[in-house]
């Protein structure tokens, strides 16, 4: 009777355990480690990204990581919300704003080497006051990107689409910002809310908020 009680509580009967316990333990540990390794090796890794920024510089991290992960054979989901939705527009009009960003180098992508090396320290007051400053900064950044052999945002987005990355858009933001679905690329997989994306993120090996 006591043996049955012990077994049902997950313990082996005393005499059995004394005789075989160590062997069983060793067998289980070995089998478990092997099985775990098998499962890990056969599993397709997955990445979930929440893209929330809509400037040209911040468009890069989600698209670089998503396209690279897809090249590695991973399953990738990207949820675009708030300003991140800008990255899914049919026509990309992304700009970069150096205003209030002291970490952004202000260098010229043309001219002799000594000239290109100068980091122009432009006061915030000037950046804020000069009309079209962001347009100029964006133009310079695009030129720098091209010079350095870095892909354009459009190119990386195309790779993501081609590789079957799931691009999902936040329906709430569409309503909030007064957009219509026609403003966006038709390759968007779904229009969803947080409740749909969270379970996807939960099952992902890597989850990033950008």
């Amino acid at each position: 009777m006591s043996n049955v009680a012990e077994m049902s509580s997950g313990k082996l009967p005393n005499e059995l355990f004394q005789k075989h316990g160590a062997t069983l333990d060793a067998w289980f540990d070995e089998r478990f480690t092997k099985k775990l390794k098998e499962l890990e090796e056969s599993k397709t890794p997955s990445l979930a990204i929440i893209a929330t920024k809509g400037t040209m510089d911040w468009a890069y991290p989600p698209f670089i990581l998503a396209s690279t992960a897809s090249a590695l054979g991973w399953d990738v989901n990207v949820f675009f919300t708030f300003y991140g939705l800008e990255l899914l527009k049919k026509e990309l009009h992304l700009e970069v704003s150096p205003l209030g960003n002291p970490s952004m180098p202000m260098k010229m992508p043309f001219g002799p080497k000594w000239f290109q090396g100068i980091n122009w320290n432009i006061p915030n007051l000037v950046m804020a006051g000069v009309p079209g400053f962001e347009k100029v900064a964006t133009g310079l950044m695009k030129k720098t990107v091209k010079n350095c052999g870095v892909a354009s945002v459009q190119e990386l987005r195309d790779v993501c689409i081609e590789a079957g990355v799931n691009l999902v858009a936040c329906q709430m933001t569409v309503d909030l910002f007064g957009y219509t679905r026609d403003d966006f690329i038709p390759e968007i997989k779904d229009w969803v809310g947080a409740a749909t994306f969270l379970p996807i993120a939960q099952k992902s090996d890597v989850c990033l908020f950008i």
């Binding site: 396209s67 090249a71 054979g73 350095c148 052999g149 870095v150 892909a151």
Partner: protein, 76 residues
Amino acid sequence: MSTTAQELDARGLNCPLPILRAKKAINGLQHGQVLRIRATDPGSVKDFDAFCKATGNELVSSEQNGGEYVFQIRKH
């Protein structure tokens, strides 16, 4: 010595383009065929190593010639 089935010129391209272009080229290869890649991005040395480990393709060789890197990848 393995014969190269396809060449990929990734010179002048920066992360992650060499990997993305290589992946695309490998997709068009048959099992066992070799892709030869030329690149100038110093980061591509570690990236191609990691890429091959993750995708199960074989990194046959990884060499440096001056400012150029040459990789040979055999499709799994």
